[in-house]
């Protein structure tokens, strides 16, 4: 079982970017794929782009659906802006199953500065390859959403993300850190652009398995949910200790996390 992470530079326009990304995926993703993950703003710049034109959107979704079906893999489509009925914009990411059906959908508002907002829903999907959490944009960098998904059983987090902070070395390292602190695998696809430093990576709690750095391409990494299940199993001989952060929680102490902060 293999995870493929897409990281591509923007071309002159969304149409050219989409063609480059989708062609590359068609040529690189093999039948070994269990998951293919694309980044936030996969075909656009994230600098206040308008909604992806309907025809282009449909064509991209058709090709990603075909990829899912032909390779028998789950595909996290990455996100692109779509127009809401009220005229506002939202970023939309979909998880396609191997039949090409949408099994999870995450929508987040596009904020006035063009960046992606956060949300209230953190889906966890049961798949033959383990329980997966789907995250889009800055929810990943908040402590709470990845944590909530792991508490709900997610063994792998699929992240359509961007390394778009002001402290990118720390942000890059945090992909692994979030995996460690939640005893989870993280498949992070990062945008590559003027403000976004790539950083696509597969991280296990013990370290990075594969990293793209700032290079364009498709990263491959092995995946086996059994490793996460093993690490999460209590070992009262304490040879392994990474289970502790999930098992020893004292939920009565955490109520302030759900309170509005003044």
């Amino acid at each position: 079982m293999t995870i493929f992470l897409a990281q591509h530079a923007r071309r002159a326009d969304a149409e050219a970017t989409a063609t480059a990304v989708l062609d590359d995926l068609d040529s690189r993703v093999t039948g070994e794929a269990s998951f293919v993950v694309l980044p936030e703003n996969v075909f656009t710049t994230g600098d206040g782009d308008p909604a992806l034109p309907r025809r282009l959107r449909e064509r991209c979704l058709d090709r990603l659906t075909a990829l899912a079906r032909n390779r028998g893999t789950y595909v996290l489509t990455g996100s692109w802006p779509e127009e809401r009925p009220d005229g506002g914009l939202m970023q939309v990411a979909r998880l396609l199953d191997p039949a090409g059906s949408v099994c999870a959908r995450v929508e987040r508002p596009v904020l006035p500065d063009g960046t992606t907002g956060t949300g209230d829903d953190f889906p966890v999907v049961e798949t033959p390859f383990g329980h997966v959490g789907v995250l889009l944009g800055p929810d990943f960098w908040l402590v709470e959403p990845p944590r909530a998904q792991c508490l709900a059983g997610a063994e792998l987090l699929l992240v359509a993300g961007s390394l778009d902070g002001t402290q990118q070395a720390a942000q890059r390292a945090a992909v692994w850190g979030i995996a460690t602190l939640n005893t989870v695998a993280v498949a992070f696809a990062g945008s590559l652009g003027e403000r976004c430093g790539g950083g696509s990576a597969m991280a296990m709690p013990e370290g990075f398995v594969a990293e793209a750095g700032t290079e364009e391409g498709v990263v491959e990494a092995p995946w086996d949910a059994a490793r996460i299940r093993h690490l999460r199993e209590p070992d009262l001989r304490f040879q392994q200790t990474l289970w502790f952060g999930l098992w020893a929680r004292r939920t009565e102490l955490y109520t302030d996390l759900t309170a509005q902060v003044s």
Binding site: T166, L181, A248
Partner: protein
């Protein structure tokens, strides 16, 4: 704030360990410019409830207040510095204990304390846990203390940061096998929460039996100071050492930007247990301690190791 992070070496004689701690304070505070001296968890040496350490009962545990704390209070008063006693095994005098961190102020008074809230290992059986998490208001602003395994709950550092702590002290102990991921996890917590993290660990080896099995616990130091952008000072892994680091309150960075996007009402799952937690680990540990058999793991460990950890 100028902080001295003391990486202690565990020695067989706890009196020697105490003298070493005093000496470390005197050495680093000689210039009169240290605001706070931070020690690791169990600065007097291994707690009696670690494997094979029964003989330390009544020696590395102490009542609070008591003579051990008095000595540090006198030193703080004399040197006009804060001392964070990373942790002491507090003897509650009723058969139970607490893993307690004390902050002593420049005047020699105890100005704050934190009790470990997430008992680890045999602490699940013999220690009382904190019933709240809070920050301390000091001349340096609000600070937090997360005692060792408390750090491994991301909720703890998050709560302290949301309560206004800009520097969080983590007195702990780095297990050798966890060293690389420990450093990165501390760094990550600093970044995501936009805080400084001051981490103090001991070095040394504890040997003993757990059930019928000999174990060795290797503590790999690596005390460090991390700011949101990364680690700014780090000790080695195998000997006592003192880091002296100037830290300022971090300017708002990525972490605070994202905190403004929090949706607390959506995080109620955090108030529920991990969906896979279906065992009473404290009861299992209690049974193993009273039966004399070592605890076990329900699945075989692929590569049995001679090393055992007591804390993440």
């Amino acid at each position: 704030m100028r902080v001295a992070v003391v990486q202690t070496q565990w020695v067989d004689d706890h009196e020697e360990g105490l003298r070493n701690a005093y000496q470390a304070i005197e050495d680093v505070c000689g210039g009169g410019d240290i605001d706070l001296v931070c020690f690791p968890e169990f600065l007097l040496g291994p707690p009696w409830y670690m494997p094979g350490q029964d003989g330390l009962k009544g020696r590395t545990d102490t009542p609070i207040p008591g003579p051990v704390v008095d000595g540090f209070q006198s030193l703080a008063r004399e040197l006009r510095t804060h001392i964070l006693l990373g942790s002491l095994v507090e003897d509650l005098q009723d058969g139970m204990y607490r893993n307690t961190s004390l902050l002593i102020g420049r005047q020699g008074a105890i100005v704050g304390r934190a009790v470990k809230a997430h008992a680890f290992g045999n602490e699940m059986v013999v220690c009382r846990q904190a019933d709240s998490l809070g920050v301390l208001t000091t001349e340096f602003g609000r600070i937090g203390i997360a005692v060792c395994s408390d750090f491994w709950m991301p909720e703890v550092i998050r709560l302290l940061a949301l309560a206004g702590a800009r520097t969080i002290f983590v007195p702990g102990g780095t297990l050798g096998q966890n060293q690389p991921l420990m450093v990165n996890a501390l760094r990550t917590a600093a970044y995501l929460n936009d805080v400084n993290i001051v981490y103090a660990s001991s070095v040394g080896v504890v040997r003993g039996k757990r059930g019928d099995r000999l174990v060795e616990i290797h503590f790999a130091g690596t005390s460090l100071v991390a700011r949101p952008a990364g680690v700014i000072a780090q000790a080695g892994s195998d000997k006592p050492e003192t880091l002296v680091v100037d830290i300022d309150e971090p300017a708002p960075g990525d972490g605070r930007r994202w905190q403004q996007l929090r949706r607390p009402a959506a995080y109620r799952t955090l108030l529920t247990p991990y969906v896979g937690a279906d065992r009473d680990l404290a009861a299992e540990l209690r049974d193993s301690l009273t039966s004399g058999d070592g605890p076990d793991r329900s699945r075989p460990v692929p590569a049995p190791s001679a090393h055992e950890g007591t804390r993440p």
